[in-house]
Every structure is written in C-alpha cells, then in structure tokens.
C-alpha cells in the first residue's frame, strides 16, 4: 500500500502501570532521514528498545500496537531477530573491542567461515575463519563510507571519529540492512568529524536505507533530516517535514509546558549581592558527564538551577567540586580558594552535597537511618563521639536524639531510626540524604536530581523543603536537575549546560523556546533573546 519501510502504529508501553509511551506513530520511508528528538525520559530509548526487541520490554509485559516492516507486521522478540529484519543500530557507546582489527570488529559473531574435516563432524563452530573474504567485505563497507584506513589495523588508538565509522561499517555490512538507527552519533565527535558523519548518513540514505536519527543538536537535525518527530513525556507531539519547521519551533515543542509553573515566591528570602561561590574554568572527568571548562558565580542566599540534557555535564559540576571525580580549575568559596580533589576539605569548608546517585553515593543501604544521618558529621567534624583517651567511640544516645529530631523535622516516614535506609521509599531516602547534609551545617548545599525516582506527591514535598531551608537558614542552594519544570519552580536563575560548558543563564520565566534551544546547544544561531 505504501512505500514505507517502517511503520510504527499506535505503540504504547507500560512499566508497572506507569505509561511511558502513548500511541506513538512513526513512518520511515526508503531513503528518508527521520530525526527523533525529545528530552530525557521522553520515551526515545523505550521506543528503540521495542524496535530492537530488548529483553527489558518482553520481561515487563511487552508493548501495545504494531510494528510493520515493508508493510508486513513483525513481532521482534530479540536483538538477533531485529538484525534479521534488517534493523541496525549505531550505539552511542562504541561496541568495539580495542584489541581486535577493524575487520574482526566489523565481523564479530558474523565471521565468514569455510568448512574443514573437523567441522563436518563437530559442527559449524569449528569451521575455519576466512580472513580474505572478511577483509574484502570490511573493505567494501569502509569504501562505502569513504574510509581510507586499512582494515587490518587494530581499533585501539584510532581517533573516536574513526571508531564511529567502524560501527557504521559493521551495520551496513550486515546483509539486507534496511533501517539504521543513530543514537546521538555526534556526541563524541569533533566538528569536522561530525560533518563527515553527516555526509556519510546522507550517502547511506541515498542508497535506500531508512535512517532514524536521534540527536539533541537541532542544527544537525535541520541540516540532515527530512522529517522530525518530537516526543515529550512519552507522547507523540508532532511529526513535521523539516522544510515546514524551524529550530525555534522544534525547541519549543520539545520543552513544552508540562504543567503550569506555580512559582512559590517565598517572602522571607535573604538574597544578598555577595558572591559566595565562584567557579572558574572547572573541568571534571566524570564518565558520561564530563565538564569541559565551566565558569559560574553564585550569590549568597540564592537558589541556582543547573539544567541541561543528560550526558552534557551538568551533574559533573557538583561531583567535581565535592571531589567525587577528578577535577581541575579554580573554585573560590566564601573568599577562600578550595582545594579540589579532596572531599574532606570540601565538606569541612562548609559545602554539603545530596548526590544524584542516592543508592550508590548517597546512602549506606544496609545501615540504619540514624547512622546514615550522623555519618559525615561524625567522620569529618568529630560530632557524635565520646572520647576515651585516644579512642573515639560513637555516642549512640546523641545520634538517636539527633536522628529523631531530623525525622520529625523532615517528616521522614519510617518505623524507627534503626530501620535500614534500603527499606525506605525513594522520597524518604532522599530526605535522609538531605538530613545527613544538614547535619554537617553546610553554608552551601549542592542538590542533584532531588526528585529522581520519587513519586509525584513526594516531589513537591522535597522541593518545598529545599525552599524552606533557603528561607529559614539563608542556605545557598545549587540544584541540578533534568526536570526543567522543577528548576523553574524554585530557582532564581537557571544555568543550562551543553557539551560540558555553560550554554547560557536564563530566568526561570524565560520562554520555552529559549530553554529548548540552549539545551540543544543552538545558541550559536543567534535565535536566543538575550536574558535580562
């Protein structure tokens, strides 16, 4: 009926009663480049997981709706089946073995073999590898991409740009490849390499392959795609022809306004003009969240929001300053230069940190609430200890007293202060983390992803609590979050991080499109109105 390669029809997906995809409809034609864009949690990866038959989909009850390839309905249950149907993926993280040659990587588990005497008896796995044929295939795939490198060189030590191309070569070497998915392919590439990649993608499309292009870079999408589909909160917002839209419109649609922002303007705020924290050219090596030279200034009593898409480096800032990951640069806090890469000194100087990794960094899950709350204060500030000569034993009585106070003040729902934190709900765990940070009496508090994994009701409570801390103690708060709406609801200003750098600082009341464009790193196009 149509020349559609891929038809995604009314696809929905639920995880434990939580709808993460609602009636998605996407069509990809032969030779079409179809861009897919959306914030984190918009449903892109779930959709791709369905397309690739990942086990996470089928162990959680499958999906609704139909997927058609070449007009025929298919039910893809494993990644292997996806491959047989001609669907390929170029991963964001390279699936390459550094010690292997390019040929070996391209042909991994699809090696060409010849039979020999042994294999006739014992089976296919004992067949000889035919490196000549494999090299030839690899050469062909590389040539398609205009790659001059020798197929027998090892991958280790190649520039990242080349690795990306080897991934692509592997996909197009698969026989009958029809649809190729690129997941943030330019995230790790330099400008020139990205340009090469765009060229290659166009060339592939011309050869009749349908391409799904997932990217947050709006300029790239405008540049290369034929159509764009925007997802937001699991909903299919719209699919548009590129020629009928603009970066500004896409940005606006992507961010959207989920709920009307009710900014609870507190009355008793004590904001001053004194700069309490000044960051200059901060670099942090946090895997997946690298910070590549950030400068920011924070005023005393302020609530600063840090936003941006996942993987752009927003989480690296707090982690770097707190010494969790290696960092470099100049940080002046309260007039003193902060020694970096030393968590103890960061904490001692009055910085508190509520980590985004609640279960890994934030809590000792098997230990009691009271110990979790008292821990840092005990270790760093020698609180809650009784001295017996040179020996310091913990003072259980004082710990209990303090924990009970905190439980009351933050309204932590638990059976007793001795309950293990691993048994608490997400929201209450978060409160324990906050309680621990407060016990250190910090002057400035970093809070990362405070509402991640918390149900909607509890979200508001956590945010209110932060606002209250700011109001009551004049505590400066730097809140990092992927949820723009929550940043906009309590922050005084919001810094948007893109590709490891500050893309810009916006007022929480700035228009959606401004946020969207900044998050996509499209400020260069000068479409953003300057912030007041």
């Amino acid at each position: 009926m149509s020349d559609n390669l891929l038809n995604i029809k009314n696809v929905s997906k639920e995880y434990y009663g939580n709808k993460v995809l609602k009636n998605i409809n996407i069509e990809v034609k032969k030779g079409e480049i179809h861009a897919l864009i959306g914030e984190n949690g918009a449903g892109k990866s779930t959709l791709m997981n369905i397309l690739f038959g990942m086990s996470v989909i089928h162990t959680t009850g499958g999906y609704e709706g139909t997927i058609e390839i070449d007009g025929k309905e298919v039910n893809i249950k494993t990644p292997h089946e996806a491959m047989l149907h001609g669907i390929g993926m170029v991963h964001q993280e390279f699936m390459l073995i550094p010690g292997f040659t390019i040929t070996e990587n391209i042909k991994i588990n699809r090696e060409i073999t010849n039979t020999n005497i042994i294999s006739r008896i014992f089976g296919k796995r004992y067949e000889n590898l035919d490196f000549k044929k494999m090299d030839k295939d690899a050469r062909k795939a590389l040539d398609t991409l205009d790659m001059g490198i020798e197929e027998y060189s090892t991958v280790a030590g190649l520039p990242v740009g080349h690795m990306q191309f080897i991934e692509i070569a592997r996909e197009i070497d698969k026989t009958g490849i029809k649809i190729l998915v690129f997941d943030e392919p330019t995230a790790v590439l330099a400008e020139a390499e990205a340009q090469n990649l765009m060229k290659a993608i166009r060339k592939l499309a011309k050869s009749g392959i349908g391409i799904i292009f997932i990217s947050h870079r709006l300029d790239e999408i405008i540049d290369v795609a034929d159509k764009v589909t925007i997802l937001r909160d699991g909903e299919h917002v719209v699919t548009k022809d590129i020629k009928d839209t603009s970066a500004v419109e896409i940005a606006q649609l992507m961010v959207g306004r989920k709920v009307s922002i009710d900014r609870s303007e507190a009355t008793a705020r004590k904001k001053s003009d004194e700069i309490i924290l000044s960051i200059k050219d901060l670099r942090v090596a946090m895997p997946g969240e690298n910070v590549k030279g950030i400068s920011l200034e924070v005023k005393k009593g302020e609530i600063l929001g840090i936003g941006g898409l996942a993987g752009q480096g927003k989480l690296g800032i707090a982690n770097g300053i707190m010494g969790v990951y290696p960092s470099k640069g100049e940080v002046i806090f309260n007039g003193n230069k902060l020694t970096l890469n030393n968590p103890m000194l960061s904490i001692k100087s009055g910085l508190g940190f509520v980590s985004e990794d609640r279960k890994g960094i934030g809590l000792l899950l098997d230990e009691s609430i009271e110990l979790n709350i008292a821990f840092t204060a005990m270790q760093i500030n020698n609180g809650f200890l009784t001295n017996y000569g040179p020996f310091k034993l913990k003072n259980s009585k004082e710990i209990r007293k303090h924990a009970l106070e905190m439980i009351k003040e933050l309204d932590i729902r638990c059976t007793s202060p001795t309950q293990a934190t691993g048994r608490l709900s997400g929201g209450n765990q978060q409160k324990v983390c906050v309680a621990r940070a407060l016990t250190q009496n910090p002057t400035l508090l970093f809070v990362s992803e405070p509402t991640r994994g918390i149900d909607i009701g509890a979200k508001k409570l956590v945010l209110d609590e932060l606002l209250k801390l700011n109001e009551k103690y004049g505590m400066t708060i730097i809140m990092t979050s992927s949820e723009l709406a929550e940043l906009r609801s309590i922050c005084d200003k919001i810094a948007i991080i893109c590709e490891g750098k500050v893309e810009g600082v916006l007022s929480p009341l700035a228009p959606d499109a401004d946020f969207g464009l900044m998050m996509s790193g499209s400020r260069k196009r000068d479409v953003v109105r300057s912030d007041s």
């Binding site: 990644p79 292997h80 491959m83 699936m95 390459l96 073995i97 550094p98 010690g99 292997f100 040659t101 070996e104 991994i108 588990n109 090696e111 073999t113 294999s119 296919k124 796995r125 004992y126 067949e127 000889n128 590898l129 027998y152 090892t154 670099r283 942090v284 090596a285 946090m286 895997p287 990951y325 290696p326 960092s327 470099k328």
Partner: protein, 428 residues
C-alpha cells in the same frame, strides 16, 4: 607456528619492556648465575634433566592456554583434569592393560571424566565471574577432598575390588599411596609413550633447529606488510644456525653431548600436536569467539555470542588436555603417587607459563615452551646453587618453592596493578 594466538595484540612501548618481562628476566639471570656458581652440575646432567622434564610437563602447561585467551585467566583448576587422568590410569592399571593400547585406553577413559569435571568447573567459573583464579585454586582443593574419599574409601568399600590386588591397600579398602605402573614389557604403562620411538638428543636438536629456522625465514618472507627485519629476527636466525652447527659437529665427532639421553619422539609429536591444535582452534569461529569473550564479555554478549557456553567449552578443553597431560606425565614417572601427584600440578604449570612471559590475558605456545624450559632450569639448578652459595642443598629446595609462589604472585600482582593504572579516571 611459534608466533601464536594472542600475538595480534601487539606491545607498543619499549619503556615498559623490562617490567613486562620481569619474570622471564629473573629466571634467565637465575639460571645463568646458577651455571656460574655451581660446580657439580655438568652440562650433560643438566640437559638430561631438562629434556625429560620438558617432555613430562609441556603438555600440561599447554593445556592452560585456551582459558587465558577466553578471558578466564590462569586455570589453576587443571588439577581436577589431572585427577581425571589419574582415575583413568588407576582403572587401566587395575585391569593390567599395558603398553600403547593401555595408554590410549587411558586417554579414552579420561576424556569423558575430564569433560564432565571441566563442565562443572566451567559452571562454577561463570558463577564466580571476576574471581575465577581464586575459585580455580580452591576448586582444586575441594575436588581433592572428594578424590581422596573416592580413592581411600569408595574403592573397596562401595566399589568391589579384588582385595589382594597389588594396588589395593592390604585392608582391602582404598588404593595404595604409590602404585607401580611397571615397564611396558611387563605389561605396564611406564614409558608406554616415550619408548615407542627415540632418537639421539643432538639429532633432535638438529631437526628442531632446522625446522624453526625454516619457519622464521619463510614467515618473514611471507608477510604482507614489508616489516623491516628486526634485530630479533637476525638473532633468532643466528641462534638457529649456531645450534645446527653444534649439533652437526656433535653428530660427526660423536662428542660427549651425544651421551645425553635420547628423546621420545611420539611424546614430542603429541606436544607439537597440542601446539598446533591451540594454533588452529584460534583460527576457527570458536577460537574467534574465545577471543571476543576474552577481550570483552559485554560486547561479545551484545553481538549474540553465548558467553557462558563459550567459557564452559574453554574450561572443558583445558580440563581434558590437563587429564591427558597428566597421563603423559605419569607414564614418564612410572609410578602413580595416588594422593600427591596431582596436587602441585596447577601451581607448577601456571608458574611455568608465567615464566615464559604469559600473563592473565595473554598466552601462547611460545610462552609455554620457553616457560617450561626456564622454570625447570631453575628447578634443576636451585639445590646446587643453595649448596654452592650457602653449603645447604635444602636451602635451594626451599628457594625454589619460594620462586614458584613468588613468580605467580609477582606476575599476577603486576598485571592487576597495570590494569588498574590504565582504568583510572583522569582528566584528559
């Protein structure tokens, strides 16, 4: 053929060359010093000892290579393979089937037993991912308990045996501590393999030298990439040529080197066959899967390779070869030390391989052969060094135990240290 398998991963930096080969260097220095200080070791005695040890141990050491390439590390668990081999020998010995046919019956019986043991060991290694090496060591100890129960109690008490059989304890229960395997002419297994055919030592040297020279020259001419002839190449060619001259000279003049014990041809062929197998298997689909899994289990799994199964196959192969290796070992020894022969096998074999330059993730036939030679040189020399330097041969014996453990500890420790250093997160 000698340039094998893991070698496609090339070492780049020369600066760390000494650190990479520290274990090998220590052993070479030790052996050379040994020759200088000790007076009692004649060259002939040394060569006699070394050749017999080479043919006794090489097969076992070679059985370690596949698990290394499949990412399981050094399989100390070949001990359980050795137990399977001993079970087979015990069975064959009980029915007094001797000679070559008895020996091959041993190989045949050992195969399913070792395969089963290997399968269980493989399952265990899959459950102790990341800790395979300590698990493989402990599983050897664990299996030893069961082995002892089997040989000390089950035989006689549960499995009915002839109580007057010479290998059964006088009480009728359990196998004796030592079981004589008898020479072939008396219907036993001793030298069943070694004595099929023997050639003089210097002839063997001549053949091997010519063979290696041919391979070096041919493979260098065959290379696609016209790599420059390295100093190493000329060194190898020169070494081979010298060996050829020495051996021809000895054969012609019939000098004292001709007194060195003869060399067992069939055992040598078996060892070479395992080398070739190790080489060929890596050129098959299965071998490529071993390498993929060995390099990165996650990527292998994503590419659709059944990682667990591949690892089990590697373990099974290693265990079976170890069983055969133990049979080769015992037919040369001529006696079965029922409760001791297998216990040290894992440790000594691993130490040999490491001395040859292998590591947790890299091993080849060359490492195995060089390792066996160097390791056993140390073994032969150390009592004499102890005597020469400290007037105490016992000291040398303790020293070699120290070298075994020390070498393993040092090689493994350096490897982990280097890997950790590489994986540390740093800025830029």
């Amino acid at each position: 053929m000698q340039n094998t398998t893991g070698e496609r991963l090339k070492n780049k930096k020369d600066s760390s060359w000494i650190l990479d080969n520290i274990v090998t260097i220590i052993f070479i220095v030790f052996t050379v010093v040994g020759f200088i200080v000790s007076k009692d070791v004649s060259l002939n005695y040394f060569l006699n000892e070394l050749t017999s040890r080479l043919f006794r141990n090489a097969f076992l050491v070679l059985s370690l290579i596949i698990p290394v390439l499949a990412g399981l590390g050094l399989n100390f668990g070949i001990v359980i393979g050795a137990m399977a081999g001993q079970m087979a020998i015990a069975i064959v010995r009980y029915f007094t089937i001797g000679g070559v046919s008895g020996l091959f019956l041993c190989f045949l019986i050992a195969l399913p037993i070792a395969a089963l043991f290997g399968y269980f060991a493989g399952l265990l290694y899959n459950k102790t991912r990341g800790q395979e090496m300590i698990a493989s060591l402990i599983v050897g100890y664990f299996a030893n308990g069961i082995y002892q129960f089997l040989f000390l109690y089950t035989v006689g008490a549960i499995i009915k045996v002839n109580p007057t059989h010479p290998m059964i304890n006088p009480s009728g229960i359990g196998v004796r501590m030592t079981v004589d395997l008898f020479p072939v002419k008396d219907g036993g297994l001793k030298y069943a393999l070694d004595n099929i055919m023997k050639i003089p030592f210097m002839w063997a040297v001549l053949i091997v030298s010519v063979f290696i020279l041919a391979i070096i020259v041919l493979s260098n001419n065959n290379k696609k990439k016209k790599s420059k002839k390295t100093p190493m190449y000329f060194l190898n060619v020169a070494a081979c040529t010298i060996m050829i001259f020495i051996s021809v000279f000895s054969i012609v003049t019939n000098n004292s080197l001709m007194q060195v014990n003869k060399v067992p041809v069939v055992t040598a062929i078996l060892i070479i066959a395992l080398c070739i197998f190790n080489e060929l298997i890596m050129k098959t689909k299965l071998g490529q899967d071993f390498r993929s899994v060995g390099q990165n289990q996650h990527i292998a799994a994503v590419s659709g390779i059944n990682v667990d199964r591949t690892r089990i196959i590697a373990t099974v192969m290693s265990t079976v070869f170890a069983a055969w290796g133990q049979i080769v070992f015992l037919q040369n020894m001529g006696t079965l030390n029922t409760y001791n022969a297998h216990t040290q096998i894992g440790m000594f074999s691993v130490a040999s391989l490491l001395v040859g330059g292998a590591s947790t993730s890299k091993a080849s036939n060359r490492h195995a052969i060089i390792g066996v030679l160097l390791f056993n040189s140390m073994f032969i020399m150390s009592p004499d060094i102890g005597k020469a330097l400290f007037g105490n041969a016992l000291l040398g014996e303790y020293f070699r135990t120290f070298m075994v453990y020390g070498v393993i500890g040092l090689a493994l420790g350096l490897y982990v240290w280097k890997t950790n250093k590489k994986s540390r997160i740093t800025l830029e």
